[in-house]
């Protein structure tokens, strides 16, 4: 089983296949196989991450590990792409495909060369040549320097769609987090006994979709995985959910679907209207300047709304509390831990790099920033008003995702790093919180905050871990929450942002009032978390909670790794993760800011 992205993505699917074969009677075997499947995926993900880190440290050594991009292109892609042609034509095409961008420029320089090529290669041959050249240019471009573990095989040749999977600084942490949460959630849902087989198969299916979304670098493939994720979630919420699950599942499904339709529209527009008809994200990124500004604005809005629904951003967030309240614990852990990151990841991977003129447009920057601030403060206020434990945590997720937007709008190095790290850290802390809610829900079978009290005396270990989780999401220094928040705020305040009113230097969000208000959001965050801790854990123990057992092994396995992760990221952020995601984010930020008339210094 070679260590590459394809195996990583489709291993859960394979496990799901195996689980399907097992008769649904012996639940034990089903659970065991699926957990083993996710554990292997997690080990592979860690291995890949390890290799990615080494590759970061010394790029030269990396070539040995996995075939680099252009080797993959030469040996795998071109033979596959041209296998339809006659042998001598294939040889001719392979010979002619330029190795580097300079070579292509030289070829382009002498006029008539390409026309001559077209004649002697014939239509079929010329089409294959065109696609191969386009890919070489894409892989040679600056964005591709940090791509690793490239998988490139032509998929739907007539439409120039190829199976293009790769991982860089932006997606590696999220892939690893998905694998980790996959293991923890399956272990946690060991007690699911209603339709176990369906539950585990759907979960593995979901995990494949998620890993696929983060690795896909072909827009079409991205969209396919995006929909693959949507389907199991619908069933998981719809069948194993709480009392009002149907409403929540439908609302979730339709909301995301509407968004994905907008994205599909934008994708097709970009495919059909602009010259090199391709779905390949890297070429589309180079395509940016050719799209006129107002077209870019329209496309940007379409894609932005699609991801805004997923993030979720203020006006489109109402599905989140319902989905979370109704979803079973393990599902809402994955939902909060990873699904919300698909939106943020999408904005970073697709919306900003491809449409960077629109992204750096003053109006859009302000819109995104203001939406971020609203998300933070509005989410915090709503969280304060909740009496349902899980809904409170859901709204806290809405509030925390606001930082991602703030960091993104700032588009300074620190801001972007802060935003990406926030996605990772929020994934950990919110996953922990939802597990914490799940543990207490399994015992008390209700989530009314005012009805709890004094759990600390009855379940000390559980309270300890829950406190770590709560204070991580509160943003206490020394835990993961603070690092990303601090970076985001420094980034947002950072003068080297994009544009401000009096010209193109200074902080992107110009007036620092946005940071002041978001800090107010942080204080409110502290308020509702402490209030929750007081209502649930402190105070006198009610007699009906007298016989609660403390945290069981299953719950410990789910909670402890996240707790440790919280502390490790909090104490060693740079060593653990920032060092590795830094270079690719720097490349991406430079590319996006290149759309600026006056390039802000790399502050």
């Amino acid at each position: 089983m070679a260590l590459n992205l394809t195996w990583l993505t489709f291993l859960p699917l394979l496990t799901a296949g195996i689980v399907l074969l097992i008769p649904s009677r012996n639940k034990g075997l089903i659970k065991f196989i699926s957990v083993v499947g996710t554990v292997i995926t997690f080990i592979m993900a860690t291995g890949l991450a390890r290799m990615y880190m080494e590759a970061e440290a010394n790029p030269e050594a990396a070539t040995g590990i996995s075939r680099s991009a252009d080797v993959m292109l030469r040996e795998v892609y071109i033979p596959a792409a041209t296998n339809g042609l006659s042998d001598e034509l294939r040889a001719k095409v392979e010979a002619v495909v330029p190795k580097t961008t300079e070579e292509y420029k030289a070829l382009e320089a002498q006029e008539g060369a390409i026309a001559a090529l077209e004649t002697d290669l014939g239509a079929e041959g010329f089409k294959a040549w065109g696609e191969a050249t386009e890919l070489t240019l894409a892989l040679d471009a600056e964005q591709a320097t940090t791509l690793r573990f490239v998988e490139l095989v032509p998929w739907l040749k007539p439409f120039n769609i190829n199976y293009f999977m790769a991982v860089d600084g932006l997606s590696m942490p999220l892939v690893w987090l998905t694998a980790l949460l996959g293991v923890l959630c399956l272990v946690y849902s060991w007690t699911i006994d209603k339709g176990t087989k369906a539950y585990f198969v759907l979960f593995l299916f979901l995990e494949t979709g998620l890993i696929g979304v983060f690795c896909a670098l072909d827009f079409f493939l991205f969209y396919v995985f995006w929909e693959v994720v949507l389907l199991p979630m619908y069933f998981l919420i719809g069948i194993w959910g709480g009392p009002n699950r149907i409403y929540a599942a439908i609302k979730f499904f339709i909301y995301t679907l509407v968004g994905s339709v907008l994205m599909l529209l934008a994708m097709l527009v970009m495919y059909f209207w602009y010259e090199p008809h391709t779905f390949n994200m890297l070429t589309l990124m180079q395509l940016g300047p050719e799209i006129p500004l107002n077209a870019q604005l329209w496309l940007f809005m379409g894609i932005f709304i699609a991801f805004a629904i997923k993030v979720p951003i203020f006006p489109f967030h109402t599905w989140l509390p319902d989905a979370h309240v109704e979803a079973p614990t393990a599902v809402s852990v994955v939902l909060a831990g990873v699904l919300l990151k698909m939106g943020g990841y999408g904005l970073f991977r697709i919306a900003y790099p491809m449409l960077n003129d629109a992204a750096t447009h003053q109006g859009i920057v302000y819109m995104v920033a203001i939406l971020g601030v609203i998300n933070i403060v509005y989410g915090a206020f709503c969280a304060l008003a909740q009496t349902d434990f899980k809904k409170l945590v859901a709204y806290s997720s809405v509030s925390h995702m606001g930082y991602v937007l703030l960091g993104m709008a700032a588009m300074s190095y620190t801001g972007v790093n802060g935003a990406v790290l926030q996605m990772f850290t929020h994934g950990i802390s919110s996953a922990m919180l939802f597990l914490v809610v799940g543990v207490i829900y399994d015992r008390a079978h209700h989530r009314d905050l005012n009805d709890f009290g004094g759990i600390a005396t009855q379940m000390p270990w559980y309270t300890g871990i829950a406190t770590v989780g709560f204070f991580a999401s509160l943003g206490l220094p020394g835990l993961c929450g603070f690092i990303s928040e601090a970076l985001t705020f420094v980034g947002a305040w950072d003068g080297e942002g994009l544009i401000n009113s009096d010209g193109y230097t200074g902080s992107s969000i110009d007036s620092q009032w946005m940071v002041w208000v978001s800090l107010l959001g942080v204080v409110l965050g502290a308020a509702y978390i402490l209030w929750t801790i007081q209502r649930v854990y402190l105070g006198k123990l009610q007699d009906k909670y007298k016989n609660f057992k403390d945290v069981s092994l299953r719950e410990l396995i789910a909670l402890v790794p996240l707790g440790v992760l919280c502390i490790v990221v909090g104490v060693f952020p740079q060593w653990f993760i920032l060092d590795h995601i830094q270079p690719s984010l720097k490349v991406m930020t430079d590319m996006i800011r290149s759309a600026l008339p006056v390039v802000g210094a790399g502050g």
Partner: protein, 741 residues
């Protein structure tokens, strides 16, 4: 600059002191149940070792030269985990944060204070907390607190200071809410954490300003960027200073955000002693002292410290808090509340001192205050332990039963009231007031009122402290039963009291130990003046010894010359002259405070006999409105509760209702809309299209029925009908023919 081996040695020592409590905390958390005596000795021993090390630093380094040591910096692991945060390429980083350790006079003093008080409190709580339900958890939090407090003292950059600052806040949250079964305790802990968190908001914005403008967050880098003008945006410097001070307002309980400190008395007494008297609240003072050049801003280069707004802001807040808190302390009946408000008042004093430019005076007062306030708290702890109640109404005449506590608390009360020339309290308070006096000379408009506030507070302090002393230990025992079984506390509690009492006396005596005047002030000033006064600063001149103006150059041994600008010169002179008048004034304040307290509350004094202050008595009636204000803590708490909390609840309800009905409403509306449209389409489809089809069917049927009538089967009728048709046809053709024709 490569760290000299000596510096690295010193910083390593500091690092060890830092990590000791952390180790104790980890051991306590995980293994306390298995350890004998639930592991309380683990953190106590750790504290003791820490204390010995810091004492070594004190005696070895601080005494080594008249001006102590210069700044020693060391970055433990700058390339690996030490490089805490690095964004952008290392050469020109967008944001860089390294974990560095900085040891200088200020740090050593703080280390000594923190470890000493922490050790004594540990010792004390072994006795006081004996038998509590979460005994091991208490010591774990104490260790964690000490760790974060030490971390705060030795970091070399502002963001790490902020990190440890919040960790300290967290520990105070845990310790205040230790008895979390009591709702009031958990409320108090939340109140403490939230108020400090609001303060931290300002602190964090200041950090953001520094990160952007100064490029780096190291203390020396920030001051250098101000000094050599690389600071990007001068206008924001003042705002930065004020924002930075909002942090200490929250943490050290200054005026607007002081509300949490009295409520923090819900926690166990050792916690109050350690956290809310000696260390945590002092963190704010330490931070202001450490960041003094930033507060002064431009003035630091020109030497004119008394013009900058942030500094004036600090002085004013400090002065006002002092007088404000002292006034409330008059009417408190709970012994710990009195001490809490006295702490707030004394902290106001320290802020006033630093605000007037006397960093050394402020920190000197901080040190002495740490000693006697810790002593006072621990003493009150043993009294409460004996009487099992905080209310002074239950006490009285205890001096017979608790000789040691009475003696030690007596010394502390005299120290804080400012017994002239004998106890440390007098010297540090006198230093603060002289600085204020000198500052009033330098910038009369801004500093005269804070000076007088300080002076009045001196009088009030003496008054309420002796009021507490007399009410607790002298007069008739008010509660017979409580008095009977009151007994002296065990040795673990009384030994710390003795040690602290000894130190309170000793601190005063610095003056005699090595003869040079202002032992403490020289070391602190060297700290503030030497490294940051830019040699090329405007018209800086060397200091010349002038005995009658009490101006003495700092005796640097490493070849540096004590430079100071014109303003500094004037300030030094005013300070020297001020000594005399201020001493007399503060002696007067002490006497008046003592007499007033004795008069009203003394053992057999006229006031207590006739109970002058009773509500019905003439004086009592006159003071009734003032009393009402004081009892209600000047309505600050009530205002906060009514305004902020109510607003919060209202806003949260509005926003959630908005979210539920409007935003969600729209989504559901779309759902409902779709259903309505689809049912409409259904109806149209069924009635319309299908309707017409059925209609056609029906009509043909009815026509058929109608037509049946003619199909009678009778031949003749057919013929009959056809004849008529023929006739009709003929008529028609004729008609048409005529009509056409």
């Amino acid at each position: 600059m490569p760290e000299s081996t000596a510096a690295v040695e010193l910083c390593k020592l500091a690092l060890i002191i830092l990590l000791l409590p952390l180790g104790a905390f980890i051991i306590q958390i995980f293994f306390s149940k298995k350890l004998p005596r639930e592991g309380d000795w683990v953190s106590t021993v750790a504290m003791f070792v820490g204390l010995c090390m810091s004492l070594k630093m004190l005696f070895v380094d601080l005494f080594s030269t008249p001006t102590g040591i210069t700044v020693q910096k060391w970055f433990p692991a700058q390339d690996s985990i030490g490089k805490f945060l690095l964004i952008g390429d290392p050469a020109n980083p967008a944001f860089r944060l390294d974990f560095g350790i900085q040891v200088d006079n200020l740090t050593i003093v703080m280390l000594v204070v923190v470890t000493l008080v922490s050790f004594l409190v540990h010792l004390y709580s072994m006795g006081y907390m004996h038998g509590e339900v979460r005994y091991n958890r208490f010591f774990a939090f104490l260790a964690l607190f000490t760790f974060s407090m030490l971390g705060l003292c030795i970091t070399s950059n502002i963001l790490f200071l902020f990190i440890f600052w919040e960790l300290v806040g967290l520990c105070s949250y845990f310790l205040i809410g230790f008895y979390f079964e009591k709702k009031s305790a958990s409320n108090a802990s939340i109140k403490a954490f939230m108020t400090t968190r609001i303060g931290d908001l300002g602190f964090f914005v200041a950090i953001l300003i520094m990160a952007y403008n100064a490029g780096s967050l190291e203390f020396d880098k920030i001051f250098e960027s101000i000094a050599n003008g690389t600071w990007k945006d001068k206008s924001i410097l003042a705002l930065g200073g004020i924002c930075l001070f909002i942090g200490p307002i929250g943490k050290s309980g200054q005026f607007p955000l002081h509300v949490w400190l009295p409520d923090a008395m819900e926690g166990p007494t050792p916690v109050s002693a350690l956290i809310h008297a000696a260390t945590m609240v002092a963190a704010g003072v330490y931070m202001v002292g450490r960041m003094f050049p930033f507060f002064v801003g431009e003035g630091y280069v020109t030497g004119d410290w008394w013009g900058s707004e942030p500094l004036i802001f600090v002085a004013w807040i400090g002065g006002f808090t002092a007088i404000f808190a002292a006034s409330i302390a008059f009417v408190q009946t709970d012994i710990k509340k009195v001490l809490a408000y006295s702490t707030v008042s004394q902290l106001g004093y320290m802020m006033l001192a630093i605000g007037c430019g006397g960093v050394a005076a402020g920190l000197f007062h901080l040190t002495t205050h740490a000693m006697f306030k810790a002593l006072l708290f621990l003493g009150s702890g043993s009294v409460i332990h004996a009487v099992h109640s905080n209310e002074m109404s239950k006490m009285g005449g205890l001096w017979k039963k608790m000789k040691i506590t009475w003696l030690t608390m007596g010394i502390a009360t005299f120290a804080i009231a400012g017994l002239p020339f004998v106890l440390s309290g007098f010297y540090s308070k006198e230093a603060v007031l002289t600085t204020a006096w000198a500052a009033a000379k330098m910038n009369p408009g801004a500093y005269t009122i804070p000076f007088w506030m300080g002076m009045v507070t001196a009088l009030m302090t003496a008054f309420y402290m002796f009021r507490m002393f007399f009410k607790t230990f002298h007069g008739e025992p008010k509660d017979k039963k409580a008095f009977d079984h009151a007994h002296e506390s065990p040795w673990t509690m009384t030994v710390p009291l003795g040690v602290l009492a000894l130190l309170t006396v000793l601190c005063g005596g610095f003056k005699f130990i090595n003869k040079s005047d202002y032992w403490f002030l020289n070391r602190m000033d060297s700290e503030i003046l030497a490294p940051y006064t830019h040699p090329a600063s405007v018209n800086a001149t060397p200091v010349v010894d002038d005995p009658e103006k009490h101006v003495h150059p700092l005796p640097f041994t490493d070849g540096r010359v004590h430079m100071q600008s014109q303003k500094q010169k004037e300030f030094r002179e005013a300070y020297g002259l001020g000594h005399g008048t201020v001493t007399y004034l503060s002696m007067g304040a002490f006497l008046f405070g003592l007499l007033g307290a004795w008069f009203f509350f003394g053992p057999n004094s006229p006031g207590s006999k006739k109970d002058m202050l009773a509500p019905e008595a003439p004086l009592g009636k006159a003071l009734k409105p003032l009393n009402h204000c004081l009892v209600n803590l000047w309505f600050v708490d009530a205002f906060y509760y009514a305004f902020f909390l109510k607003a919060l609840h209202v806003i949260k309800d509005i926003s959630y209702r908005f979210d539920k009905y409007v935003v969600d409403g729209i989504v559901n509306l779309q759902g409902v809309l779709c259903k309505a449209i689809s049912s409409l389409v259904g109806i149209v489809d069924y009635e319309g299209v299908d309707g017409t089809v059925r209609g056609i069917g029906k009509t043909t049927l009815s026509i058929g029925k109608f037509a049946k009538i003619f199909q009678t089967g009778k031949l003749q009728q057919y013929l009959y009908a056809s004849v008529f048709l023929a006739v009709g046809a003929i008529g028609l053709t004729v008609a048409i023919y005529l009509w056409v024709g």
